[in-house]
Amino acid sequence: MQEVLINTDIVAEENIPDKSKKGFVALSTEGLTVTFDSRPAISDVNISFLKNKVTSIIGPSGCGKSTLLRSFNYMHDLIPKSEVTGKITVLGKNINEYDSVGLRKKVGMVFQKPNPFPTLSVFENVIAGLKYTGNNKKSELEEICENVLKLSGLWDEVKDRLKVSALALSGGQQQRLCIARTLAVSPDIILMDEPTSALDPISTSKIEESIFHLKQNYTLIIVTHNMQQAARISDYTAYMYLGKLIELASTRKIFTSPSEKLTEEYITGKFG
């Protein structure tokens, strides 16, 4: 616990005293501002995410959680009138050094609503990211498919149904398929934007369970509207409000003794 708290302080204070500790940080931002049509959705966000940890981002609807997340894999490129300023460092390199394909291979994303490719089978969905970027070795693809489906906790349910349409799966299974699909391209960082908000409690707990296992090998950044979920699954929690990062600390600290009054009000349900 002690070690975690030290890391928390590093992250929270944003002053990494010892440069050698930079290795702990998978992704960080400095003065990150995102505007749509010149209106800022998030402004001056300084945040760091530690390697092999789960960090939750919580906050009321519209506070900029998705906007923050989507600036980590160039998703704003798709929106004509958006502008991203400030510095983002991904795996020790300035984000500008990555092209969009390269960045997205390092930083995967799982979306709010399960969105499997409807014309593809379960198997084809899982390997889509590899196949359409040039990997065509069938035996290799089959092996990867099995591995990532096991990681996302779906293998036992679909191992005899790999050839069926992905739409034949239930919503919860589809979301785990989307997680498997993201894992297949072996990213280092996985972004999840309210991954369970469209799912029933049983599917939700299955996904939370796989998130718990995934942090051994991946850095996870998860937006959630559900505070209990943040408390259950994350090592660190960031609280955002009106486009600003209010506080980032260990999950325990956020939920027991937050430093900021705004955080406390949100946690205790005074608003939001």
Partner: protein, 268 residues
């Protein structure tokens, strides 16, 4: 309001049904095996068929589709997936205008562009005219079907590190494919019945010819020629031709139904 709708629907459907049964009644009697296998006979001789026109229509449609369909699909992709730029707005505007141009004008265009320089009517010119005719239909259906594909699918694909172009080709286009195929088949069926653009491009031919640089018979032009003749025998042949055309449209629509019920078409 509902009764008005029902009335309008009836008014729309009754002529269609009437045309269908009338043509069937008038055409079926002069339909026989010869009609599909024999060449037209000069007036006065009994029998004869339209095999050259049937094959001609298939060749002309093939020629037209060969360049009209790919150009239409690519233009549709451009307008839908790369929308927002001035260029794509201009392209969209032009295809909209093109779809409103009467087909006879497209025929004149092909006449000026191909028939005059070649100094003869040809299948090539006819196919070209039909192709131009297909472009706006195919473009629009492609654009509309692509726009029906949820944005989240494109995002999902891009987020996997799949390039924009591959995303369009492998994910978006494929998801919209059954709708696009439907639209293409309907564009083909429509082009198959076009007479005006063929009158002064592929013209017509009473003989067997598959040369692309020669005039070529087609069902609609053959119907036209028979219908304006003074002979009852030829009028009956025109009805039979009309029946065959309607059957083609009918069959294409049936194919569309089957195709759009393919295995993973659940989404669009």
């Amino acid at each position: 309001m509902l009764s008005l709708c029902i009335l309008a629907a009836t008014l729309a459907v009754v002529p269609l049904i009437y045309i269908f049964f009338y043509t069937t009644g008038a055409g079926l009697t002069s339909l026989n095996f010869d009609f599909f296998t024999a060449l037209p006979k000069p007036f006065g001789e009994e029998g004869g068929g339209m095999v050259n026109a049937i094959v001609g229509t298939i060749i002309l449609i093939g020629l037209g589709g060969l360049f009209g369909i790919p150009i239409g699909i690519l233009t549709g992709i451009y307008v839908s997936e790369y929308s927002g730029s001035l260029m794509s707005n201009v392209v969209k505007f032009i295809t909209d205008v093109l779809s409103g141009i009467p087909s006879i004008v497209i025929g004149i265009f092909a006449y000026g562009l191909i028939v005059l320089p070649m100094q003869r009517f040809s299948a090539l010119a006819g196919g070209f005219a039909l192709g131009i005719l297909m472009i706006p239909t195919v473009t629009r259906i492609t654009e509309e079907m692509l726009k029906l594909v949820p944005h989240t699918l494109r995002e999902a694909s891009l987020a996997l590190g799949i390039s924009r172009w591959k995303t369009t080709l492998r994910i978006t286009l494929r998801t919209a494919s059954s709708g696009i195929i439907t639209g293409i088949l309907l564009a083909i069926a429509r082009a198959a019945g076009e007479t005006a653009p063929l009158l002064f491009t592929s013209f017509g031919n009473s003989f067997w010819s598959t040369s692309l640089d020669q005039p070529m018979a087609s069902i609609p032009v053959q119907i036209f020629n028979y219908a304006i003749s003074p002979y009852d025998e030829w009028h009956r042949k025109a009805w039979a031709g009309a029946f065959v055309l309607i059957s083609i449209v009918f069959i294409v629509n049936l194919i569309v139904r089957v195709v759009t019920r393919n295995k993973y078409s659940g989404s669009v």
